[in-house]
Each structure stands twice: as structure tokens, then as C-alpha cells.
């Protein structure tokens, strides 16, 4: 199916207006695949016909469905592994000491898609019950896609999804087989909650996150939107909190609010904190 440039531009505009995300090249070539299911479901013959319906405003709910279909929900448990090792090795032991008095941790998984990242984090805590006994762990997963958040809340995964990233022992320990799929165990669900949220808007209430993960999301934003997202993310962090980005994403040249943590590669801290630490060393 040939997609005209004008159709492609209209879809790009719609996606950007609703989410701030750009229709990057790798998304453009998969437009047809992304929208195929929706076209069949609505009995629409082509993308150009879909654009006509959208432009004429005949079906207001359709625009939301199109945006949902265009979003990239690729994720899996413990995606890329190394970031989780970094958290386990550096950030969590440090926080276990720093927050020993309050025994409370807040983590925000921003752009969590269907929930695998928040549940992976929950698994890390659940697998060390003695260490975290008596702690209140609050893991918030947010995504701009309502459909993704609904799936995340359900915490039920297909056979294909549940084994992506998990070892078999971990899978059978933390997921139970149900007629609907593999359901996350109560121990994983308890510390995790989800909400629909756009990164470009004010951070979720009440903020004050010790760790913010925002991986493989900012690459879909243009420079201006990315800067705004960094502002939002940094305003959600506690002064000594950490931000983790996806592999290949950085704060360098993108924002003045954050800087690389010299102690731990892959983590970012608030710029003011880094200056304070430098002054203490001096």
C-alpha cells in the first residue's frame, strides 16, 4: 500500500500534537503495519481513506486510536540487563543507607509501555525480602498510551511476552499460568501502580522520586520537546535522586538541569547536586 507524503505528514502532525513524539524514519516505514489492524477493524480501505475521515472529523475517537497504534510499545523484562545491574550494584545499596531512617523509596518508570519495566523493578526488591523488609517501595509506571497502561495494570502477559527477558526460574516464581495468560504474582503487583501520563506535562503527584527511569522515550522527541521533558523529569526527582536513560541517550548538550553521575556510569543527577559534591571534595 502506497502512503502519500501528505498522509504521512498528517499522521506525523497528529502524533506530535497528542504526544510530543515525532514520527521518526523507523516509524514511517512501519506505518502500514502499525495501522493495519485498525483499518481492518473499522473497514477502512486505505491509509488515505483513514486520513480523509480524520480530517473531516467524522469520528473524533478515531484520532486517539490512530495515535495509540503509532506508538512504539516495544519492551521486555529487564530490558538491556546492564541498567538493572547498575541499579542493583550502585543506586539501591546507596539508597538503602541514605533512606534507612524513613525506609521509603519512590521510583518512577516513565514511558513504561505495558509494564515490564516496573514489574522488573518490583522483582528486584521482591527477590531480596530480608534486605527490604519493613520498607515502603512505591513504583509508579506511566505511559502516554491508555491501552498500554490498561495492559500494565492487568499484569497479564502472553507466553511470548513473559519469557522475553526472564529466566525460566524467575518466570515460574513470579508469574502464574491463568486461562488469560501469565499473571504477575501479588508480590510484584503490590508495590506497583500505573497511570496515563504525558512526559511533557507536570510530573505525577506527589513527585519526590528517588530514581526516575526514562529509557528509549526521549529519542522520539524533538530538541525543544526533549528539553521540556528533561525539565519535567528533573523536577520530579529528590535533590539526591538519579535519572536513568536508555542506551544511547544522554543529557549532554540536551539540558543544563542534569549531569552525568561521575560515580556511576549510566546514571544522571541534578546539576546543582554535582556542583555541591565538587565543592565538598574541594
Amino acid at each position: 500500500m502506497e502512503i502519500s507524503d501528505s498522509s504521512s505528514r498528517i499522521l506525523a502532525g497528529l502524533l506530535e500534537a497528542r504526544t510530543g513524539q515525532q514520527l521518526t524514519l523507523n516509524r514511517r516505514w512501519r506505518l502500514e503495519t502499525a495501522l493495519n489492524h485498525l483499518l481492518r477493524e473499522r473497514g477502512i480501505a486505505s491509509i488515505d481513506e483513514l486520513i480523509t475521515i480524520l480530517v473531516m472529523g467524522k469520528e473524533p475517537s478515531l484520532a486517539g486510536r490512530v495515535v495509540e497504534a503509532l506508538l512504539n510499545n516495544e519492551t521486555y523484562f529487564f530490558r538491556d540487563r546492564a541498567p538493572f545491574d547498575t541499579l542493583a550494584r550502585s543506586a539501591l545499596p546507596a539508597l538503602a543507607q541514605k533512606r534507612a531512617a524513613t525506609k521509603r523509596l519512590r521510583i518512577w518508570s516513565a514511558g513504561c509501555s505495558t509494564g515490564q519495566e516496573p514489574y522488573s523493578l518490583a522483582m528486584m526488591f521482591a527477590e531480596e525480602p530480608l534486605k527490604w523488609q519493613g520498607w515502603t517501595i512505591d513504583i509508579l509506571g506511566t505511559d502516554v498510551s491508555e491501552a498500554a497502561v490498561q495492559r500494565a495494570r492487568a499484569g497479564v502477559y502472553t507466553q511470548f511476552e513473559v519469557q522475553r527477558g526472564l529466566g525460566i526460574a524467575q518466570m515460574i516464581k513470579w508469574f502464574e499460568e491463568t486461562p488469560d495468560g501469565w499473571r504477575a504474582a501479588e508480590g510484584l503487583r503490590r508495590p506497583v501502580r500505573f497511570q496515563v501520563h504525558n512526559l511533557l506535562e507536570a510530573p505525577p503527584h506527589p513527585g519526590g522520586f528517588d530514581i526516575v527511569l526514562c529509557r528509549n522515550v526521549l529519542l522520539y522527541l524533538n530538541t525543544e520537546m526533549r528539553e521540556r521533558a528533561f525539565e519535567r523529569l528533573s523536577s520530579a526527582m529528590v535533590p539526591d535522586g538519579w535519572l536513568m536513560l536508555g542506551a544511547g541517550e544522554t543529557v549532554i548538550g540536551q539540558t543544563r538541569k542534569l549531569t552525568a553521575d561521575k560515580e556511576t556510569r549510566g546514571l544522571y543527577i541534578l546539576a546543582g547536586q554535582a556542583e555541591q559534591a565538587d565543592r565538598q571534595v574541594a
Binding site: 540487563r81 511470548f160 519469557q163 522475553r164 529466566g167 526460574a169
Partner: protein
């Protein structure tokens, strides 16, 4: 280069798995059933075996039990790769000495991570 023996009676599955494993820089050999796989292991022990469950002549489970009984010092890692996807089969495989378990269908990412988890990738 690590070596992997694919044991599956389906030529199509062997072809798909071979393609994935070669992109992961494995040297790949194939066997069509458990007996053939056992003979291969006697001649040359691979680093990892990707093992189907239901096969003619000798099943994956029979192969695994015999392989583990022989007690070679250079025992390979064994990753079951099967359409048997219920808890009873998974537990039986782990008890018999499987190191990991992949349920078909799977993709490159899934297989890659499983091979990393058993320490061969």
C-alpha cells in the same frame, strides 16, 4: 566461537534457529532426534544444546536424562525449546537437568537473553 547443537525434528525450526544462532556468532550443528544428538555429543561436546521435546526415535527428555547420567565433565548447557508450555513440563525439564526453557514461538531477543542467562552468549 561457541558451539550449539540444535536438536529438532523440524527442518524449518532448525533453519530458523540456525539463522538466529549464527547472527549471535555461534558455530551450529544439527540433529533430527535425541539419539542422533547423543551420538553427536559423544563425538564432540557442544557448549550448548537447543533441545526440542517431542521427536521420533528419542525424545528430548530421554536425551537429556541420558546425557546427564553419563556425567561427562564437559556437560553442555541445555536449553529446552518446545511447544510444551505448561508448568508441569517446565518443572520436569528443570528437574531433569535443563538449564533454561524457551517456549515456541520465540524471537532472537528471547533466545539471546536465555543464552546469556546460561552463560554461553
Amino acid at each position: 566461537m561457541k558451539t550449539c547443537l540444535i536438536v529438532d525434528d523440524s527442518k524449518v525450526i532448525r533453519k530458523v534457529a540456525r539463522h538466529i544462532l549464527e547472527t549471535l556468532e555461534f558455530s551450529v550443528d544439527e540433529a533430527g532426534d535425541g539419539k542422533e544428538a547423543l551420538e553427536h555429543c559423544e563425538a564432540s561436546m557442544p557448549d550448548v544444546v537447543l533441545l526440542d521435546w517431542n521427536m521420533p526415535v528419542m525424545s528430548g527428555m530421554e536425551f537429556l536424562k541420558l546425557l546427564r547420567q553419563r556425567g561427562h565433565s564437559d556437560q553442555p548447557k541445555v536449553v529446552f525449546c518446545t511447544t510444551e508450555n505448561d508448568m508441569a513440563h517446565i518443572r520436569a525439564a528443570l528437574e531433569a537437568g535443563a538449564d533454561e526453557y524457551v517456549m515456541k514461538p520465540f524471537d532472537r531477543e528471547t533466545l539471546h537473553i536465555k543464552l546469556q542467562l546460561v552463560g554461553v552468549a
